[in-house]
Amino acid sequence: MSNDSISTYGSDLDAALDGGSSLTLEQRSSLDTVDRARETPTVAQPWSELGLKADEYAKIHEILGRRPTASELAMYSVMWSEHCSYKSSKVHLRQFGDKTTDAMREHLLVGIGENAGVVDIGQGWAVTFKIESHNHPSYVEPYQGAATGVGGIVRDIMSMGARPVAIMDPLRFGALDHPDTLRVLPGIVAGVGGYGNCLGLPNIGGEVVFDPCYQGNPLVNALCVGTMKHEDIHLANATGEGNLVVLFGARTGGDGIGGVSVLASETFDDNADGSSGPAKRPSVQVGDPFAEKVLIECCLDLFQAKVVAGIQDLGGAGLSCATSELASAGDGGMLIHLDRAPLRDSTLRPEEILMSESQERMMAIVRPDDLPAFIGITSKWDVEATVLGEVTEGGRLVVLWHGETIVDVPPRSVAHDGPVYDRPLARPASLDKRQADTADRLPRPSTDHELAALVLRMTGSPNLSSRAWVTDQYDRYVQGNTTLAMPDDAGVIRVDEESSLGVAIATDCNARFVALDPYTGTQLALAESYRNVGVAGGKPLAVTNCLNFGSPEDPAVMWQFAEAVRGLADGCQTLGIPVTGGNVSLYNQTGNTPIHPTPVVGVLGVMQDVSKRTPSGWRSSGAQLFLLGTTRDEFGGSEWAWSEHAHLGGLPPTVDLEAERSLAELLIAAGTDGLLLAGHDLSDGGLATALVESCLRYGVGASVSLDAACARDHVDAFTLLFSESTARVLVAVQPESMQAFTQACEGKGVPVIALGASGGEALTVSGRFSLPVEELRAVHTATLPAVLNS
C-alpha cells in the first residue's frame, strides 16, 4: 500500500466521522422537533395524505404520549404501510411458522423474519434465497422499476453475509398483442437484464406469462440466491452500546420518497394528477447497477475482514426501516445524527431523508476498533461511508438534525408493533358459477389432422412459445457455475468447485388454477416448482414465495389470500420442507378488478454433484421415452381451454403431493445413478408441449405411440396430449438402463409406461401425425419476435 493511499484512507476516516454543522435561526424555526411537538399538541398533520387511518394516527399519539413530529409521522406512515408492515397478511402468514415442524427445521439455519432465510446444504455451505415483487413501480416506469426490483432483492441476499450467485425473474404481462404490453414488456426485460447483467449475476430461469388480467398491473417478481459458509452468516441487529452505525454506498437523494407507501399501499387511481398535496410523489427509484456491483464486492471484503457486527440493506422505507429494524433486533437503542447523511440533493428535509428509497445503500453496525479497517475497505472500493451514530442503551431510537431532536421513539413500535388487521373474508359468490362451468362443454379436436394442427397452434401460442426473445437478453453464464438454465425445468448452479455441490431452483405458478380454487391452486404451484427441482435432480429443501394479490380491503381477495396461504402452509407440511421467507404484494388491480391471485412459489433443492443434473431434452437418437404418472381428463384452467377457447372454469387438476414426493425421489435417485438422459415436467400444455419442447431443446425428434398409455388410463389421444394432470414427467432413458429404471419406478410406486424413442427429424405420433422439428421450431420461435420486434 502506498503512502498516498494511507493518507487517503486517513482522510476518508475523518470524513466518515465528520460532525454536522448547526442550523440558522430560520432553519430552526421551520423544524418540527420533539420539543415543538410537545408545545403544539393540536397542530394539524397530514396523516391521511400519508396513508394512515385515523385509528392508526391515534395509536401513534398513544405510543408517544404526544403528537408525532413530522419526521416521526413520516417514519410511522411508511413503516406501517401495507408493503412494510404486512398488516393485512400477518395473521395468515403466521401459519408458515406454525406449521413448520422440528423435523422440517433440520436444515434451517435462519428462518422467517430476517432479510432472507438460510438453509444448510452440507459441507459447511449455506444458501439463502428469496423472491420480492416490484410490480407497481414497473408499471409506472418499466425499466427502472424492474431494475431496482433486482437491486433490492440482491441487497437482501447480501445483507445475510452471502455472495449473490444467481437471479430468476417470474414476470407476468397483459395480452401479448395489447399495445400497452409493448410499452411495458421491453422496458421490464431490459431493466431486469440491464441491472442483473451489470452485477455479474447469471439469470437462470423464471417465467414469462401473458394474461389480460395483468394488463394494468404487470407482475415483476425477482428471486436472488446467495451462498456462504456457515460462519459467514450475518444478521440485521444492532447490539453493543457504543458500536457505530455506518451508512455506506450511494448518497441519499429525492428518489422514491414515499414510493413504498404511495405505490404499494394505494392504487394508481388515487392522486394520479398529484393534485391533493405535495407529500405523495409517485416517484420510482433510479438504479445504478455499477454502484451495486461495487457494493457487493465491498461487502464481501468487509465480511471477510470480520469488521461487520450487524448489517441491513436500505430498501423500502430507507433509513426509517434500517434504523428501526436494526435497533429493534438488537439492544433496542440507537442515536442517529441525520444531518451527517451524505446527500445528492442538499435541499432535502429530514423527513424526506428518512423516507428516501435511494438505491445501493447499506447500513452496518461496526465496533469502534474496527472502524479504520472498515473505512480502509470502503475506500479501496471508492464507496462512501459515514458514521451516522451509535448503538445506545435505553430502548429509544433518537434522531438528531443539527443537534435538535426530531425523532424519539421506541424502535419496535415503528418496525414491529404496527397495526394488524384481521380483515373480513368472503368466498366470492361468483366462484360456484365459475367452478360449475367446466371445460367439458368445449369442442375438442375430432381427427388426427385437427390434433396435429392443434399441436402446432399451441406450440406457437403466447404462453407456450419460445421465451428466447426475453431470456437471450440475460447473461446466464457469468460466474462460470451455471449448469442448467432456461429453458430447462430448473436453474442449477455449482456452489463448491471442488466437490460440485450445488443447488437447483425453480419458480412456478399457474394463476388460473389459483383463480379456480386458491387452496388447491397454490398447492399446484408448490407441486410444479417441487417437481421441476426434482426433475433436474435437486432434493427439495426450502420454499420461498411471492404472494401477488388484489386489494385486501376486498373480502373476496382476502379470502383468496387466506386460502392460498393455508394451501401453501399445508402443502409444505405434507412435503416436509419449510417456507424460509417471502414477500406479499397487495393492491394488484385495475380499478376494482383484481389480478388473478398469483402466489409464485420458489423451491430450492440441493444436489451433491451438479454434473449429474438432468436436462429437459435428449441430445441423441435411441433414448427410450417413458411417461411417469397417471393422466386424467383434467382441463379446468388448462392452457388448451384458455388459449383455444378463452375459457376459465371448472376445477383445477387434482393435487397429489405424496405422488409428487415419490416422483421426485425416483428422479433424484435415477439422475444420481446416471439412468436419465433427459427429464421434462408436464405442466402447461401437457404431454404435447413436453414432447415438443424436449425435441426442440437439442433438435432431435422422437417417435411415440399413445395407445398403451391411453388404454391404461382410459383416456383418448387428445386428453393424453393436452390434459394438465399433475405428478407427471416425460423421461428419456439409456436403452441399457431401461430395466433398472422401470424397476426403480415400481419400487417407488410411480406409474410408468413406454412411449417410444428419440430420433429422427420429426415428432411422430404413430398412426396419427408427424411434425418436422424444424417446422415446430419455426412456429415456436416466431411468436414473441413477431410482436416485440415490430
Binding site: D475, V478, G480
Partner: protein, 229 residues
C-alpha cells in the same frame, strides 16, 4: 507461467478468467486496476464486465486506470513487429484495448439494440497469435457471446488492412449477432501478442458449464506461446 487478470470496478468475468487460466495449467494472478504493479506476470487478460459502469463509453474510463498505463507501455504500439506483453481482451477487455489504441477499431451498440447472450459459432482465422496458436486455421468453435456493445466497426481502409495483414483472429459463423463489420469477432495487433475478442472463451473451459470446452485453447495457447518465447 503467470497470467494476470485485471479487476476493474465493475469487472464481472474476472474470477471466471482466473479459473480458466488455472484449468489451462497456468498460475492465475489477480491484478488491481489502481495498482500499476504487474507482479511479474508473463501475460494479461482484461476480463469481461462493465468497467467503471461503462459510463461515458465502454472501456473509455478503464483506459486511464494506473494498471492500463503499465500494460499499454509493455504491450507496445499496435503496428510494432517486435512482440510485447501478451494481452487478451475479452468483451469489455476488447473495448478497453480499442479505447487504449492497442487495437484498431471500436465496439458499438449491437445493431438490434438488445443485450444478447447466445452460444456462438466462430471460425478461427489467425493462428499465429499468442492466444490462438493451438488452433488450426479454419477451426470452427462454439463459445458463449454476451454483450450489449459488441458491434465491431472500423473505417474501410482499416478493415482492408486488417484483412490484408491477417489480423482478423476470429469471425462469426451462421449468425452475425451484433452487426460487426465483416462478421469480425476478434482482431489482433501486428505481432499477434494482443488479441481482442468479443465472445467469451473463459466460459467454455469445463464440460457441463457452458457450451463445451472450445474456449480452453485460448489459454493453453498462451501458456504454450509464453513457454516457447
Amino acid at each position: 507461467m503467470r497470467i494476470g487478470v485485471v479487476t476493474f470496478p465493475g469487472s464481472l468475468d474476472d474470477r471466471d478468467a482466473l479459473r480458466a487460466v488455472r484449468i489451462a495449467g497456468g498460475i492465475p494472478v489477480p491484478l488491481w486496476h489502481g495498482d500499476a504493479e504487474l507482479h511479474n506476470v508473463d501475460a494479461v487478460v482484461l476480463p469481461g464486465g462493465f468497467s467503471y459502469g461503462d459510463y461515458l463509453r465502454c472501456g473509455a474510463i478503464a483506459r486511464f486506470a494506473p494498471v492500463m498505463s503499465e500494460i499499454s507501455r509493455l504491450a507496445g504500439p499496435p503496428d510494432a513487429t517486435a512482440p510485447g506483453l501478451p494481452v487478451l481482451g475479452i468483451c469489455n477487455g476488447f473495448q478497453v484495448l480499442c479505447e487504449s489504441h492497442l487495437l484498431p477499431g471500436a465496439l458499438v451498440r449491437n445493431d438490434h439494440r438488445h443485450f444478447i447472450c447466445r452460444d456462438q459459432k466462430l471460425r478461427i482465422e489467425r493462428t499465429n497469435t499468442t492466444w490462438t496458436n493451438g488452433y488450426a486455421a479454419g477451426d470452427e468453435i462454439v463459445i458463449p457471446l454476451k454483450n450489449q456493445e459488441g458491434g465491431y466497426v472500423a473505417d474501410t481502409a482499416t478493415l482492408d488492412r486488417l484483412e490484408g495483414e491477417g489480423q482478423v483472429v476470429a469471425r462469426y459463423l451462421d449468425v452475425n449477432p451484433n452487426g460487426s463489420y465483416r462478421d469480425i469477432a476478434g482482431v489482433s495487433n501486428a505481432s499477434g501478442t494482443v488479441v481482442g475478442l468479443m465472445p467469451h472463451p473463459e466460459h467454455a473451459v469445463e464440460l457441463g458449464y457452458g457450451p463445451g470446452t472450445d474456449g480452453l485453447c485460448f489459454f493453453t495457447s498462451a501458456l504454450q506461446g509464453v513457454l516457447s518465447a
